[in-house]
């Protein structure tokens, strides 16, 4: 019985392609929802300062310098884990570390900064998720890389460790650093 090669090569080829696609899919993390805000200007906000109650901070602080806006909370264990790395980054790098305290309570948040250190030039206080929704925040920790013109260039979902800093965030910082 005459049999052309294609009759078994084609299904085999399709199977291999499908298997490769699904195998690649296994590596993707569905919890990491990509942000449509990358490339957009930061959503403007007007929030109270965490450390100085009554003082208002606006999104203008993000203009003029490259910033890392770090969403954190005292109830978030991963935030505690990444805190040491944030302190190191704030000390060694010239990006400004801005804290975005999210859905938290002031005393607990202040206590966390007291115990684990404060890497932030300032922290804004968003207990009711008024501004968080505008940033597409859906969990903590999240970190936004914002360039000196106030454009969001990257969103990191999850804690930052040395590897993440060097492989994921630093390249973005270098790329959008204003020259001269």
């Amino acid at each position: 019985m005459a049999r052309s090669k294609t009759s078994y090569l084609v299904p085999l080829g399709i199977f291999i392609a499908l298997a490769a696609l699904l195998f690649y899919g296994l590596k993707l993390d569905p919890r990491k929802v990509p942000s449509p805000l990358v490339g957009q200007p930061v959503p403007s906000f007007e929030l109270e300062s965490l450390l100085e109650p009554g003082k208002t901070i606006t999104s203008d602080i993000l203009k003029g310098r490259m910033s890392l806006v770090n969403v954190w909370a005292s109830w978030c264990p991963s935030c505690r884990q990444e805190h040491a790395e944030l302190i190191r980054i704030a000390r060694e790098s010239d990006v400004q570390m801005v804290g975005f305290n999210w859905k938290d309570e002031r005393p607990a948040a202040l206590e966390m900064l007291r115990r684990y250190g404060d890497p932030y030039v300032l922290s804004v206080f968003d207990p009711d998720n008024k501004a968080g929704i505008n940033w597409g925040v859906y969990g903590a920790p999240e970190t936004f890389v914002v360039d000196a013109e106030g454009i969001i260039r990257h969103k990191r979902i999850g804690p930052i460790d040395r590897k993440v800093w060097e492989e994921e965030i630093l390249p973005v910082v270098e790329q959008y650093r204003t020259k001269g």
């Binding site: 019985m1 005459a2 009759s7 084609v10 299904p11 399709i14 499908l18 569905p30 919890r31 929802v33 990509p34 942000s35 449509p36 805000l37 959503p43 859905k103 998720n129 968080g132 929704i133 505008n134 940033w135 597409g136 859906y138 969990g139």
Partner: protein, 179 residues
Amino acid sequence: MPRMPTFRAILAAAVLAWGSAIAYTLEEFQFESPAQEQEFRDLINKLRCLVCQNESLAGSQADLAQDLREEVYRMMQEGKAKDEIIEFLVARYGDFVLYQPPIKPSTYLLWFGPFLLVGVGGFLLLRALQRKKREPEPDLTGNERARIDQLLTQSLNQTLTQPPTSPGKHPGDAQDRSS
């Protein structure tokens, strides 16, 4: 002996609990008309909870889901249309916030992929069947026919000379004895 709750009582309790769980998420919101309430329900069923990602905003009890429901409600009270509210959330959270993925170039594979696979598989199957019809199995050669006759005779002789076996045999086997 303590009185055991009847099955009906348990069932009633379960239905009530399930009903009130849904009522819990919606009761906090007041609507001016049933039409408005229906629109709200539609919206929160169409949107995904980003924390419990397999649940819609309607079903999820997560904190963020509560925030987003309140936001949707607030926008509805401001008079925003359904489309505007959806656009608002998609602009901030991306397409993933829609429970049903939109049909656009990046999701063509998702939507049409299964049909494509069935189509390709069906085509290959049809081709194989047609080929079978066009080229019938070649007839047995003389040698092969003789060999088959020999094997059949051998097995027939074996069956005839064997003592009857246990009653586990299928009824059809009895007909083997005809030659």
